[in-house]
């Protein structure tokens, strides 16, 4: 159940991997669409925390091109609906997330990413 909302918060936490460790790249993913309750207040509240470019790139990688390149100044209901769909309704079920810096791969199985590190990778 990796949704793009959490993907947008997630950076690599391997020891010494501190720059260029965000966003993690999706690899060999299977996605599933599942409807969620629309909550405009939550989205408005969460908007300032979004790394917009990372979100748009990730969405494009998963085959969703509904979001504009730049974060719009004006927030209307239609836009919030799109954002809601991308952030909360696209679930990545299988595949992996790969760190662009250290190439550590976090496998996703059954919707749960495995974030465990080996002993030498712990910071």
């Amino acid at each position: 159940m990796v949704r793009l909302i959490t993907h947008n918060l997630l950076a690599c936490h391997v020891k010494g991997c501190t720059s260029n460790n965000f966003p993690l790249q999706f690899k060999d993913v299977q996605i599933e669409l599942r409807e969620a309750e629309f909550n405009p207040d939550f989205l408005r509240n969460f908007m300032p925390r979004i790394e917009w470019k990372a979100l748009v790139d990730a969405a494009r990688q998963l085959g969703d091109t509904s979001l504009p390149e730049e974060q719009p100044e004006m927030v209307d209901d239609e836009f919030l609906q799109k954002l809601h769909h991308v952030l909360l309704e696209v679930h990545v079920e299988e595949g992996a997330m790969v760190c662009p810096n250290c190439n550590h791969s976090y496998p996703i199985s059954n919707g749960i990413p495995n974030m465990l590190l080996a002993e030498h990778e712990i910071g």
Binding site: I112, M115, E119, I122, G123
Partner: protein, 285 residues
């Protein structure tokens, strides 16, 4: 039986069997629910503000279910795959991660509006290997620093845990302070053996008006059902001990009643009642 955290590491202790047992036990469910509500109360989020919370050690989603019910969006991490599997079966709403909190989080700074954790961080107090990264202080430090980074300013983290000694509380709070947290320990029902619960209430930031550590609940505050079982019986016992000797059961009333009963049954030689009945004899010497 010794505490679960002393028996095996969490990902092994909570195997398939134990995960099911734990989740289906109605007593565990009740306690977890109570503690989650209390943790949310201590978290003190502005009402009506839809927040993004982190559930540390979400397990099978017993606490997550309550977060769903309260309308929060949440992300859960746990180290036991079997527990997460049960959570998937129960179809909780939050995103789940298989993660060892002692290895630290990888979340971007300022990601969450708050964090809760129910009965988890005592698991960090046992070293599993002799590698330096597996020592409890190192793991706690890593956990608290990355948690501090992942929380927004201002926000709170409420972590309920079961310490076995005051030294453990001391260790945990001192490391949390070194990681930049303010706040302290809140103890609910400090005088009850069963109902006593320890919450670590940590603050990130807070600006000029420093945040106050909330007060723990006292026994008097809540009468009746919320109290631990058998508390009443113990109280009654105590009262009796204070008042000294018990009331004499075989007093005058009892003797008169018995004699009346014997007469009714037609027993011979029942002594007559008089003003001396049931009175003690004078000491002869």
């Amino acid at each position: 039986m010794s505490r679960p955290e002393l028996q095996a590491p969490p990902e092994i202790y909570y195997g398939d069997v134990e995960a099911k047992k734990y989740t289906n036990n109605s007593r565990v469910q009740q306690i977890q629910a109570d503690m989650t509500y209390r943790a949310l109360e201590l978290l003190n989020l502005p009402p009506g503000d839809p927040a993004l919370l982190l559930d540390i050690g979400c397990g099978s989603g017993l606490s997550g279910e309550i977060l769903d019910e309260q309308g929060y969006t949440w992300v859960g991490v746990d180290v036991a795959p079997s527990m997460l599997e049960v959570a998937l079966e129960r179809e909780v709403e939050g995103d789940l991660f298989l993660q060892d909190i002692g290895q630290g989080f990888g979340f971007r700074p300022g990601s969450f509006d708050g964090a809760i954790s129910i009965s988890v961080i005592q698991w960090l107090l046992n070293a599993e290997t002799s590698h330096p990264t597996s020592s409890p202080p190192h793991r706690l430090m890593r956990f608290f620093t990355t948690l501090h980074a992942a929380l927004r300013n201002p926000s709170r983290a409420v972590l309920q845990f079961y310490p076995t000694s005051d030294d453990q509380v001391q260790l945990i709070t001192s490391i949390a302070q070194k990681a930049g947290f303010g706040g302290g320990v809140v103890v609910d029902y400090p005088n009850s053996k069963k109902a006593r619960k320890v919450y670590l209430c940590l603050f990130v930031g807070g600006g000029g008006g420093a945040q106050q550590v909330p007060k723990g609940l006292e026994d008097e505050a809540e009468e009746g059902e919320a109290r631990a079982q058998f508390e009443k019986r113990r109280e009654r016992l105590k009262k009796r001990q204070i008042s000294g000797k018990r009331k004499n059961v075989k007093g005058k009333d009892w003797i008169l009643r018995k004699k009346e009963l014997y007469r009714q049954r037609g027993k011979d030689n029942v002594p007559n009642d008089s003003k001396y009945t049931g009175r003690k004899r004078k000491a002869v010497f």
